[in-house]
Symmetry: C2
Subunit: 348 residues, 2 copies
């Protein structure tokens, strides 16, 4: 099925003038007489002319669109980030193209390749869990392609970055559990490839140490695919609860891990918080509806999207190469509810 659009030529032909004149009239150039301008404008209106953004992109060597790569959009955190991205991009006349890596390195590479081959002017990316080799990003970055990293970042690439204070979020969550009388706090976390894993586990460990508790490596369970595969979480929970000293609390470091953890506990018949308390990173908007209401570390996802986009547009629209890069660290919020309260905490 063909779809024919009105071009600048149609207007030129209809008015018996050249395309240059039409183009200039539409762009309100001083070289065109007011009468001709009006003629062109009226004709364009009548024919319902719309400039062809593709032709423009080719000419101007820019597409006025930015690419976003996240592992999946069916995730509260990322969809909120995307809302933040769009809120800025939309105002500045940029189009947003979203790709999902689905935690796959291969898909991430393919997505990047497509986006970068000149169809987008810049890139916002949160790395996939499988991504260890960064050569695809480095190659782009070396060519001067504008990139801003957010959430799951890497220090190997020198550019703008936006993250939350993962260390602090994890520290606060863990300390909260400690203050509520928990002494055997486990961590359910993502792949060791990810920056967020390091930062959050570090915060968890530091909180334990600062409060005189020992770090027990058996209590730290990594889920490589971060809960994309449900069995991962079941296995991890299994390992935690087949130990001699079963944990009395679980700190889950991502949205999917948190909900996956709760599901597994429920299916195993473990009561939260009576048998085990739970705190998790999560941006779900129904934490209060969960049984029990869930204590969460909530990230300012919308803000993160906004900030990352502002930084990216700054890179894109800058005349000269930028050398000084910024790392914005936003503050997460610990929202305390019932899932983290030990039953006997008071009497202990």
């Amino acid at each position: 099925m063909k779809f024919e659009a009105v071009t600048i030529k149609d207007i030129a032909r209809a008015l018996g003038i050249s395309t240059s004149t039409v183009s200039r009239a539409l762009r309100d150039s001083y070289e065109i007489s007011p009468e001709t301008k009006q003629l062109v404008l009226d004709c364009a209106e009548k024919l319902n002319y719309r400039p062809n953004p593709i032709a423009l992109s080719l000419k101007e060597r820019r597409s006025r669109s930015i690419g976003v790569v996240v592992c999946e959009i069916a995730n509260n955190f990322f969809s909120q980030v995307i809302n933040g991205i769009e809120s800025i991009a939309y105002d500045r006349g940029y189009n947003v193209i979203i790709s999902q890596s689905r935690e796959s390195y291969d898909r991430e590479v393919i997505d990047l390749q497509y986006l970068a081959s000149r169809s987008v002017d810049g890139l916002l990316i949160s790395l996939s869990t499988e991504t260890n080799d960064l050569s695809h990003l480095k190659a782009l970055h070396a060519k001067g392609f504008p990139i801003v990293l957010f959430d799951r970042i890497t220090e190997e690439i020198n550019t703008h970055k936006v993250i939350v204070d993962n260390f602090r979020g994890a520290y606060d969550a863990t300390e909260h559990l400690i203050r509520n009388g928990h002494t055997r706090i486990a961590a359910l976390t993502n792949s060791e490839f990810l920056s967020i894993t390091h930062e959050r586990v570090a915060g968890y460990k530091e909180a334990l140490i600062a409060n005189g508790q020992e770090v027990n490596e058996d209590y730290i369970q990594h889920c490589f695919y971060g809960g994309m595969l449900f069995e991962e979480i079941e296995d991890a929970i299994n390992k935690l609860f087949t130990q001699r000293n079963k944990p009395d609390a679980i700190f889950a470091t991502s949205d999917k891990l948190t909900t996956g953890c709760l599901k597994t506990l429920k299916r195993r018949g473990l009561k939260v918080p009576d048998d085990v308390s739970v705190v998790g990173f999560s941006n779900t908007d129904i934490a209060e509806l969960i049984d029990p209401p869930l204590t969460v570390v909530r990230q300012p996802a919308f803000e993160m999207g906004k900030d990352a986009t502002e930084l990216l547009l700054q890179l894109i629209e800058s005349k000269r190469p930028i050398k000084d890069f910024e790392k914005r660290i936003l503050t997460p919020e610990l929202q305390i509810r019932e899932s983290s309260f030990k039953k006997m905490a008071v009497t202990e």
Copy 2:
């Protein structure tokens, strides 16, 4: 910041041949000798040549991308639909561009305009709640632009459509409440502009009538923005519970309405299902974690995205205009949990 890419000309210059030869060599044309082909291929590899999709789009008058317009992606149902869309589009070499109308008619019009001005080959759309005037869609459709409607559709446009059996979903949900002893079932629903509202309310009413209950219009509350504004839901619940005969069950017809309803009930101190039962359309993946576990009508969202995309690609790639349009009706699933069980149901 400029980003220079390697073009077919660079290869031609490097090899001292014409661009036509390079182009044909890359496309493996029979007119090019094996030796030249190899030379070109090697050179392209060495320079890391990537074809410019924008130039191709201009030439072929197609962008190999499709546009998607939904009200918001931070919604389980729509993000699952998008996953379905991408699963097909990706395999067929199409890029997906997502726009959010945020339930605004104006944004829907703007989104459409941008997408349609030749940057996409076709469109998948679920109408915004404000959309009453369809002239923007009709104009595009009249020009032969491929459009597939899904979820929130309209009969005013003759094209492929994909929906779930909303009538049946609502009927089943309502009948389930009736069988559990409820006699005062309220409906919390969307704008009357939306097709899904009509169909779901119709199913609700029919179930009441078929089971010998009366339809009480005071029990039907419309939220124009479908819960985007939280006060809407609070007002609606208020109206329901300030009546003489307070409802003993609520049937919510969308994801946001369902969770919004639960939040409001909780804040008012109403217990589910003791004080009032709740059943709702929802595609949340943590229905089982909610207190109480939520009975939902779940839509095959992924399937819907897949089907709609298949139909759209069929429209796009068809040689002649298609006259015979299909309306696919998928089957929703009632997942029964505890939120719909009246406490005294057994003894009644």
